[in-house]
């Protein structure tokens, strides 16, 4: 069956972690809805840290916590038959992919340690040091996609296929974060940010009855024109000769 595949959206979403002291963290779930090429993606609300934060439940985590959050990916795309989803992680880099979380919120919720307006506490280096203490597991359904410290792109360095969804179908990503019990006060109030890129491809099944590409030069008219021209020339010569004979008689 002929298929037409078009990239619908490459969506950069973040997983923002914040280590707190007292407030408990709860398992939560988030839904990302792919609405198609024209309408784009409905992300939900994000968090105070970033507008694209999927992980409201991974804030104020405590040493020893194991937290789970689920993300439901649903297709409501009306301009294609199916949506094929992929996921990859994108490493932070001060120049190419700087941190995006809100410094203002870091300050407001007491996570800011230096209290310097306009300057985040975290740099890519300090954040990676913090993230290297944690363990992140990502399951697509029951399949373990990723298991590493979240500072590493690991198995998600390249796009990993998640699911192909028809309109109305959904799949679930389960994200499990483990904070070691021995995490010391040096990491209190630290914020971590992990970037994920979701890629949605819209697949349209073409109606049967298409044709293969017309890859021919116009060779056939050469023959047709040539034969017709030759025939006319011959007829013309015959008529002229006949006229010549008539004149002679």
């Amino acid at each position: 069956m002929k298929q037409k595949i078009k990239r619908l959206a490459a969506l950069l979403l973040s997983l923002t972690l914040a280590v707190g002291l007292a407030a408990p963290a709860f398992a939560q779930s988030t839904e990302v809805v792919f609405k198609g090429q024209s309408e784009g993606v409905d992300l939900g609300q994000g968090s105070e840290y970033t507008a694209t934060d999927l992980f409201g439940g991974l804030k104020n985590v405590m040493p020893g916590d194991t937290l789970t959050e689920t993300i439901r990916l649903r297709s409501e795309a009306g301009d294609c038959d199916e949506v094929r989803l992929y996921l990859r992680a994108r490493a932070h880099d001060e120049a190419d992919n700087p941190l995006t979380y809100s410094e203002a919120h870091e300050n407001a919720d007491g996570k800011d340690q230096a209290g310097v307006a306009g300057a985040r506490d975290e740099t890519v280096a300090t954040m990676q040091e913090f993230l290297a203490q944690l363990t992140l597991r990502i399951y697509s359904g029951d399949t373990l996609l990723y298991e590493a410290t979240p500072d590493q792109t690991g198995a998600l360095a390249s796009y990993v296929p998640l699911a192909t969804l028809a309109r109305g179908e959904s799949c679930t990503l389960r994200v499990e974060l483990k904070v070691p019990a021995e995490l010391d006060n040096r990491f209190a109030n630290r914020v971590g940010e992990v970037d994920w890129v979701f890629l949605a491809e819209g697949i349209t099944h073409a109606a049967p009855g298409g044709t293969l590409i017309q890859t021919g030069q116009w060779n056939w008219p050469v023959l047709v024109l040539g034969v017709a021209g030759l025939a006319l020339v011959v007829c013309g010569i015959v008529l002229l000769r006949r006229r010549g004979k008539d004149h002679a008689q």
Binding site: Y159, E201, T215, G216, A228, L232, G236, L240, R242
Partner: protein, 205 residues
């Protein structure tokens, strides 16, 4: 009137013969032009591929999808690889997407990827492109080298003439590589179905 019929027919015949000759020579010129353009593109793409930075390659690799072929751009042409057919002494670049303008330059990928063993490449029936495809026979070798330098070696399994609406026969042939073009008259298609040779894909040496 009968007196004038002879000269009129002669003139009309001469005009048609001139048109036929003009079209013939235009087709030959277009064919030669397509061969030159494809040759320049082949050299340019090879040079562009060689100049790619390692970092750029790894970022592109990260962003590419499983099965998606890497693309190298040269003078606004997106190229996915080169095709070599030793039996026809033919070496051509392959463009990532097809349209009728691109087809005048080089063969184009219509469907699939060498990484998912469902690659379909179409080209014009210029002698410098796929015009001699019908001369291939079962057992001939065809090589497709992608822009990462991965050499995919295929063996011709069969050559068939297909109806223009045989899309499914080409796209879902079960063969790792299909090459096709129009027959001389343009009414049908010559398709070459290839299977992978015994050797696995290997980096170019």
């Amino acid at each position: 009137m009968p007196n004038k019929a002879g000269p009129v027919l002669l003139a009309a015949g001469a005009a048609l013969l001139t048109a036929a000759l003009s079209l013939f020579f235009y087709n030959r010129w277009e064919d030669a032009q397509a061969g030159r353009t494809a040759g320049q593109l082949l050299a340019g793409v090879r040079s562009a591929a060689g100049q790619q930075e390692q970092a750029a390659e790894s970022e592109a690799a990260a962003q590419s999808l499983p099965g998606e072929l890497p693309v190298v751009e040269w003078q606004n042409y997106d190229c996915v690889g080169t095709l070599s057919i030793p039996a026809l002494e033919l070496e051509l670049p392959v463009l990532a997407q097809w349209d009728y303008t691109r087809l005048k330059t080089a063969p184009c990928r219509q469907f699939g990827s060498s990484r998912t063993d469902d690659l379909v490449i179409a080209a014009h029936n210029y002698q410098s492109h796929f015009g001699r495809l019908n001369q291939l026979a079962a057992g001939d070798t065809v090589r497709f080298t992608d822009m990462d330098g991965v050499v995919n070696t295929y063996t011709v399994a069969r050559v068939e003439v297909l109806a223009p609406d045989a899309v499914d026969a080409v796209q879902n042939s079960g063969c790792a590589l299909v090459l096709y073009t129009c027959t001389k008259g343009g009414a049908s298609r010559v398709a070459v179905f290839c299977q992978r040779a015994e050797t696995a894909p290997s980096p170019a040496g």
